[in-house]
């Protein structure tokens, strides 16, 4: 009881000291931490090693949203299956989609692979386009700028700090972009297979070609008929490798490896997807170096 009283009295004070901002995915948290610096306390809702489409809507996430001053999400329907009820249950006007302190990052990006028609027989299609846009490292610059503008909008008192942090971050990031460009240059035109097309933006950025997915349709688990077709495709087109996410079973991929000898590479999609990935730079370092070519 005493603890509760203590919290009730001191919680509002601690909130004013630092902006408490909830973000849906770890990559947004990492970016926000760079831009917000000491003025922002980042609360990440999803875990990096979970399928971003299927985040477990634990009740503890409601209390996190309940106490947040702002919310930044990926958007493009990536959170549609888990975030809306959490927002409603938290009943916090500051994290309502119509609030000034709510940011939907997908609005800042030109989404690719927007389906011409939408039908559930085509699997779990995203009507707005492919939502995994943060995996194009060039987009990170756009997102950093938008997050910076957002922070200035909701916390003008620290404007200089946010703008300074953004400039420092962008300078570093541009340097890394050149480095990754170099690493990926020889891999241009390489053909790959994926489980789900979540590397669409990464592939587009570096000219990799996705020629097939292990799931027959987005969100539909592998079927034996489709797997047999994939074996034929792999034997015919000789793609370099299977790029596999961390959150689906590699059972079918392993079967393809056994049948065709194709290489299997695990590709993390977010910070924290693998234990060794603890930063945004680390994520793209891993992604660009994981693909070897011969």
């Amino acid at each position: 009881m005493r603890r509760i009283l203590f919290l009730l009295i001191f919680l509002p004070l601690t909130l004013t000291a630092k902006l408490n901002i909830a973000v849906s995915y770890p990559y947004i948290g990492a970016l926000l931490h760079e831009i917000g610096g000491e003025n922002v306390k980042v609360t990440v809702l999803a875990k990096g090693n979970w399928n971003p489409h299927f985040v477990v809507p634990r009740p503890s996430l409601i209390s996190k949203l309940r106490r947040s001053d702002a919310l930044i999400m990926n958007g493009a329907q990536l959170e549609i299956g888990w975030l809306p009820p959490l927002i409603r249950r938290a009943a916090n006007t500051k994290v309502n989609p119509n609030a000034q302190s709510f940011l939907n990052l997908s609005h800042q990006i030109d989404l690719i692979l927007k389906p011409k028609s939408v039908d559930r027989s085509l699997g779990d299609v995203h009507p707005d386009g492919n939502p995994h846009f943060h995996l194009d490292p060039n987009n990170i610059l756009i997102l950093a700028q938008k997050i910076s503008d957002f922070l200035v909008r909701i916390d003008a008192s620290n404007q200089q700090e946010y703008e300074k942090n953004t400039a420092v971050f962008m300078k570093k990031w541009k340097h890394h972009l050149l480095r990754w460009e170099d690493v990926m240059k020889p891999k241009k035109g390489m053909q790959v297979i994926q489980f789900h097309n979540n590397l669409a933006y990464f592939n587009a950025a570096y000219g990799l070609k996705n020629i097939g997915t292990i799931e027959p349709l987005p969100g539909i688990p592998p079927s034996s008929r489709h797997t047999l077709e994939l074996i034929k495709l792999i034997k015919k087109n000789k793609p370099s490798c299977i790029l596999h996410d961390v959150y689906h079973s590699t059972k079918t991929a392993q079967y393809l490896v056994d049948k065709t000898g194709i290489k299997l590479i695990i590709m993390p999609h977010d910070v924290g997807a693998l234990e060794s990935i603890d930063s945004l730079v680390g994520l793209f370092d891993y992604l660009t170096e994981a693909i070897d070519y011969d």
Binding site: N51, V55, P57, P59, R66, G81, A90, A91, R120
Partner: protein, 423 residues
């Protein structure tokens, strides 16, 4: 490939050259189609096989708890049918869900429950979350949020039937009342919510406030509505990838009921209290695979006067009914496709201060086991086996136990807007 696409494009251009251009939705001047609410339709069909024929199922009951278990019993003037109540093919329900924001202050949700020859408004309520931070206000017809299970719609249940304690203490439709609901999430590190609901108080099993009139013109005074109060506290914490959700609820309200059969009328005038303790422990192995243990204990206490009228002779007795039971279930999701589960149901106390005939000794038990295959998020095939030993038939020497075994294969399909997953 490319060439053929090109040719097809040219051909189609020629074919449709004369047709007026249809503008995309966003550019039609007066189009309001963007404002269409989220719509979805959920359909459940099944095939049932039981060790008893339809006549054998009729008249089975849990004495003093559930009358006519498989029956199409009529209560409150409308018909209720059990899940897959007919042997053979069944269309169990179609649920039409419409919801949308009304304006910056309100959201409106509605669920229409269709049976083969019935329609019912299952839920129809507004939600406001903007008045006070942490406070969610709902008003209308609402499935009470007093437990995890009570607020879940049928397609979300892990087993076909409501647990025995719900069927016995609240009825197949659970606590689904007209009223106001207030839920407050405390501004704490831990998840703690307090709930308060004030309802009309018209539950088919335990609550009611109507004035009753017996056939000898004896009147039993009703109570003013709203006459039902629901309170609860729930909390939740995580231990690594395991989430624990305990909760406690207390419900109190007026109770009036009138049953008449074979020229014998029984009326009850008093109050009912319902206590519930729930605990869910859910462990996630990854995004899809989990092990979930969910249990609820319930106690129903009814106190008041019971009126018996037979051959125009009226007797009034003090009545106190105490019933207790619980269910416990374990569900394991192996991956996106496969899910298996078992459930145990028990009503272990069924005490009447006054009873005309001896009730069979408790516990009344039911065992269920199910396996599911999810083709996608939107379709699910379920095979469920149930062994129900809670049922009795009234014979010449009192109640005789009748075990019912059933195997039900059901297919559940959902179209339209994507409903978000609740925990």
């Amino acid at each position: 490939m490319k060439k053929s696409t090109y040719l097809a494009l040219c051909a189609s251009t020629l074919l449709y050259a004369e047709a007026p251009a249809v503008k995309p939705l966003s550019q039609r001047t007066f189009s309001q189609s963007q404002f269409i609410p989220d719509i979805s339709l959920i359909v459940d069909t099944s095939f049932a096989y039981r060790n008893k024929d339809q006549d054998g199922l009729g008249g089975l009951s849990i004495p003093g708890v559930v009358e006519d278990f498989f029956g199409q019993g009529e209560t409150d003037g409308h018909e209720h049918t059990g899940y897959s109540s007919d042997n053979g093919f069944n269309i169990n329900y179609a649920e039409l869900v419409l919801s949308s924001n009304v304006d910056p202050s309100f959201r409106l949700d509605s669920v229409f429950h269709f049976g083969l020859d019935s329609v019912e408004i299952e839920e129809l309520y507004f939600t406001n979350t903007t008045l006070i931070d942490g406070l969610r206000i709902r008003g209308g017809k609402i499935l009470s949020n007093f437990t995890r299970f009570n607020s879940q719609h049928q397609h979300f249940w892990d087993f076909n039937e409501v647990p025995l304690v719900y069927k016995g203490f609240l009825g197949s439709e659970k606590l689904n009342e007209l009223g106001l609901q207030f839920q407050y999430t405390l501004p704490l590190e831990e998840y703690v919510i307090l709930g308060l609901e004030v309802s009309q108080g018209d539950n088919e099993k335990s609550f009611g406030n109507d004035t009753l009139t017996l056939s000898n013109a004896q009147e039993i005074k009703g109570a003013d509505a709203p006459s039902l109060l629901v309170t609860y506290i729930k909390t939740s914490f995580d231990i690594g990838d395991t989430t624990v959700v305990p909760g406690f609820s207390y419900i109190h309200g007026q109770s009036r009921s009138l049953d008449a059969h074979d020229g014998h009328e029984v009326a009850f005038d008093g109050t009912s209290s319902l206590y519930n303790i729930e605990l869910t422990v859910k462990h996630y192995f990854d995004s899809y695979s989990f092990l979930s243990w969910q249990s609820e204990w319930m106690r129903l206490e009814k106190k008041g006067d019971e009126y018996h009228l037979e051959n125009n002779v009226l007797e009034v007795h003090d009545q106190k009914i105490e019933q207790e039971g619980y269910y416990s279930q374990l569900v394991y999701a192996h991956d996106q496709n496969l899910r298996v589960g078992v459930r145990y149901d028990s009503i272990y106390k069924n005490a009447y201060d006054f009873s005309e005939e001896a009730l069979p000794s408790t516990p009344y038990k039911r065992y269920s086991a199910m396996g599911e295959y999810h083709f996608s998020e939107f379709s699910r095939l379920r095979l469920e086996y149930t062994h129900n030993s809670a049922l009795f038939k009234e014979g010449v020497n009192g109640f005789e136990a009748e075990n019912v075994d059933s195997v039900i294969l059901s297919l559940n399909l959902a179209i339209g807007a994507h409903g978000a997953h609740d925990f």
